[in-house]
């Protein structure tokens, strides 16, 4: 009934999921970063506020991606997919912002 098992070509045994201790530690770190984001939100930092907020958000995103989503232990194909998503989002922002934020500029007004 079962087909003859073909040799394993490139798949490697995936590491086991995070242990309860690791998940707990990641949770505590994320809690701390969320508190930091809220404190920054209530602080009067002027124009620096958005940069501080986004820095904390990026730190949270990296902890979430590398540890909770287990990107750290993932295979190359997963890395490639995640990197492709980030790269294409970067292109989305780049081309949209260069279009909209330079409207109204002329060669003379740029100087």
């Amino acid at each position: 009934m079962h087909a003859e098992q073909k040799p394993i070509v490139f798949e490697h045994a995936h590491p086991p999921p995070n242990s309860v201790a690791t998940s707990g530690l990641v949770y505590i770190v994320m809690l701390g970063l969320t508190l930091m984001a809220l404190v920054i939100g209530f602080a009067n930092l002027g124009p620096l506020k958005i940069y501080a907020n986004l820095s904390v958000a990026i730190a949270q995103a990296m902890v979430l991606a590398f540890f909770s989503m287990e990107l750290k232990n993932a295979d190359k194909l997963t890395w490639l997919t995640a990197a492709a998503g980030v790269f294409w989002t970067f292109l989305l922002f780049l081309f949209t912002l260069t279009d909209y934020l330079t409207r109204g500029m002329t060669a003379q007004s740029a100087y």
């Binding site: 098992q5 949770y27 997963t78 492709a84 912002l97």
Partner: protein, 277 residues
């Protein structure tokens, strides 16, 4: 622990209709790698999906910073903070569910799946309450005008439309911002185009609405997995990968919220004295 040879029958699964490894896969590892790849590929498209809305928000925020700052002040950071902790905790419980499925602990798997569902539903409850308070405060962007409202002739009014034709939204927003003491600390409501703040609220409802939609879908899927767990689908421990990929989706939903919080809620000026529901 999980067996790696899918050709050997797994104890307790005799008579099940679905084999562990589907016929079109060479082996279990390839199947599991494909399952993960499929979810990561979908998440890459979701990143572009939300990225588009956030990009549009970025353009208008760069163009109208003061209006967006004022409009953000009208939102409720307390509910946003509570929701952040709820979502964070639900991410934690779904990673515990993966571990339980991997170790074959069916009871704990169901417990953590149920906890994730409960936390998600609580998030939606707070969100619904938040939308309701926004509606009660009149913060729904529209072109509806307020005619001959005596308050618009008030000398303290700082709306752009001084008398006569004020949009109801601008009128309501002005009251909310005055309640939140936006004019303190050097802020001047006169510098804000309250009508243009409707643009912020369009983004607010669109972005949080899309996030809510994704949460509803996620909760539905977790409910389905809970039912499957009740039916013994996850008894073969190799099937933990399906819990893992749903958790990947849920972590992505949290990732979106991590960026919505500073962009929508923390853009404004909040103080602890005005915290409340």
């Amino acid at each position: 622990m999980a067996a790696t040879n899918a050709l050997e029958p797994i104890e307790g699964t005799e008579g099940t209709r679905r084999p562990i490894v589907a016929h079109h896969f060479n082996n279990l590892l390839q199947q599991q790698a494909s399952v993960r790849f499929g979810m990561w590929l979908f998440l890459a498209t979701e990143l572009l999906f939300f990225g588009g809305v956030i990009c549009a928000y970025t353009v208008y925020r760069i163009w109208f910073p003061k209006d967006f700052e004022a409009a953000s002040t009208a939102l409720n950071p307390l509910i946003a903070g509570i929701n952040s902790f709820l979502l964070l905790t639900s991410s934690f419980t779904c990673t515990l569910a993966i571990r339980a499925a991997y170790e074959g602990k069916q009871g704990m798997l169901k417990t953590w799946l149920a906890a994730t569902i409960l936390l998600g539903v609580t998030f939606l409850g707070f969100k619904a309450f938040e939308y309701y308070t926004d509606y009660k405060e009149g913060l729904i962007p529209s072109n509806k005008l307020v005619y001959n409202d005596p308050r618009s002739h008030n000398s303290q009014s700082t709306t752009v439309h001084q008398t006569g034709n004020t949009t109801e939204f601008a009128h309501n927003l002005e009251h909310v911002l005055k309640d939140k003491e936006y004019y303190k600390d050097g802020k001047n409501l006169g510098e804000v185009n309250l009508d243009r703040c409707r643009l912020f609220f369009v983004f607010y409802y669109a972005m949080t609405g899309l996030h809510v939609l994704h949460m509803v879908i996620g909760i539905g899927l977790f409910t389905w997995q809970y039912i499957l767990a009740s039916l013994g689908f996850f008894v073969p421990q190799e099937r933990y990968v399906y819990v893992e990929v749903l958790a990947l989706y849920w972590h992505f939903v949290e990732l979106v919220w991590i960026f919505l919080l500073p962009l929508l809620y923390m853009a404004g000026h909040h103080n602890f004295a005005n915290l409340g529901f």
